[in-house]
Amino acid sequence: MQITVNGENREYSTGTSLSELLKSIDIDERYVAVELNRKIVPRTQFNEKLLAENDTLEIVTFVGGG
């Protein structure tokens, strides 16, 4: 299935969880916040949240800033 991750289209197998997706792109869950289709996914739901065809994910982190 197609998932858009930070603006890029990526292919995942059906039933992939958010946690698995993050792991597949080397993202440390402790350091990110995630929106699924513009709605925030609480960190506690990363494991159970299953992704669906055409989902859009926005994954953000803290960077240097003033």
Binding site: E35, E58, V60, T61, F62, G66
Partner: protein
């Protein structure tokens, strides 16, 4: 007059210098400068995580959260909607409900958009955030932000990153007289005397980034800013002498 701690909502700080984490050549240098600044509050920005390449080190690995309170900003947001979205994502990182709200109106001047800044303040206050809001030095706007429930109003001394110092001290004075919430000068600080000037006016703190990160020796400049902040605060608390037109001799004028 002894100093008290700085209270911002439920947060308390001894240091009155707030520093940014942007524009450092390396994270090690940033860490050293933060240390030298004596600051207890450091600002960070929220951006898309790198996807598809091996992750670099995280900024958070370099900020000891036992020592520093993280203040996420909404820098780079040009509408209330974007800023609110960014603030909510920042809170979801699970660190705090503090937000440095910044809604910009223009890419060249980086001046705040007053209408959307007010709108976003109202939404975020209602949503339970501790809002420290960046604004211009307009006293009326500052008052409107206080009325909207901002925990601190943070007027710019000069445009972001410009290093021009406190361009209109009179406006800052009016803001200080009009508002009851803590006022922090945010942006425009170029060197130590700018920090002192803001603190002498009675601001409760100064927030800066480029002034340290862009200096030739950021670590030494961080220390200079720390001392300047303390100096200005002490001078403010001590009550300076009024400025007079004519001389007033320091030594007794009587003959032997």
């Amino acid at each position: 007059m002894a100093d008290t701690v700085l209270k911002l909502g439920k947060y308390e700080f001894k240091s009155r210098l707030f520093v940014g984490t942007g524009k450092y050549e390396t994270l090690d240098l940033m860490k050293e400068a933060l240390e030298a600044s004596g600051s207890e509050v450091v600002t960070v920005a929220v951006r898309r995580a790198n996807v598809g390449c091996k992750p670099g080190e995280s900024l958070l690995d370099y900020i000891d959260q036992k020592k520093y309170t993280i203040l996420p900003n909404t820098a780079g947001c040009y509408s209330a909607d974007e800023a609110v979205r960014t603030a909510r994502l920042a809170r979801e990182m699970g660190i705090s409900d503090l937000i440095k709200l910044e809604v910009l109106g223009d890419k060249d001047t980086l001046l705040p958009d007053p209408v959307d800044t007010l709108k976003a303040t109202e939404i975020l206050v209602k949503d339970g955030f501790t809002v420290l809001v960046y604004t211009s030095d307009d006293p009326i706007m500052a008052k409107r932000l206080e009325d909207a429930g901002a925990t601190s109003v943070m007027p710019a001394g000069a445009p972001i990153g410009s290093g021009q110092g406190i361009l209109n001290p009179n406006n800052i004075r009016i803001i200080l007289e009009t508002l009851s919430v803590p006022v922090i000068v945010d942006a425009g600080v170029g060197t130590a005397s700018d920090v002192t000037a803001a603190m002498e006016l009675g601001c409760v703190g100064v927030l800066l980034n480029t002034g340290i990160a862009g200096a030739k020796d950021p670590v030494q400049m961080a220390r200079a800013m720390k001392l300047a902040c303390e100096s200005g605060r002490l001078a403010y608390l001590s009550g300076r002498i009024p400025k007079k037109l004519y001389a007033n001799a320091s030594s007794p004028l009587k003959d032997f």
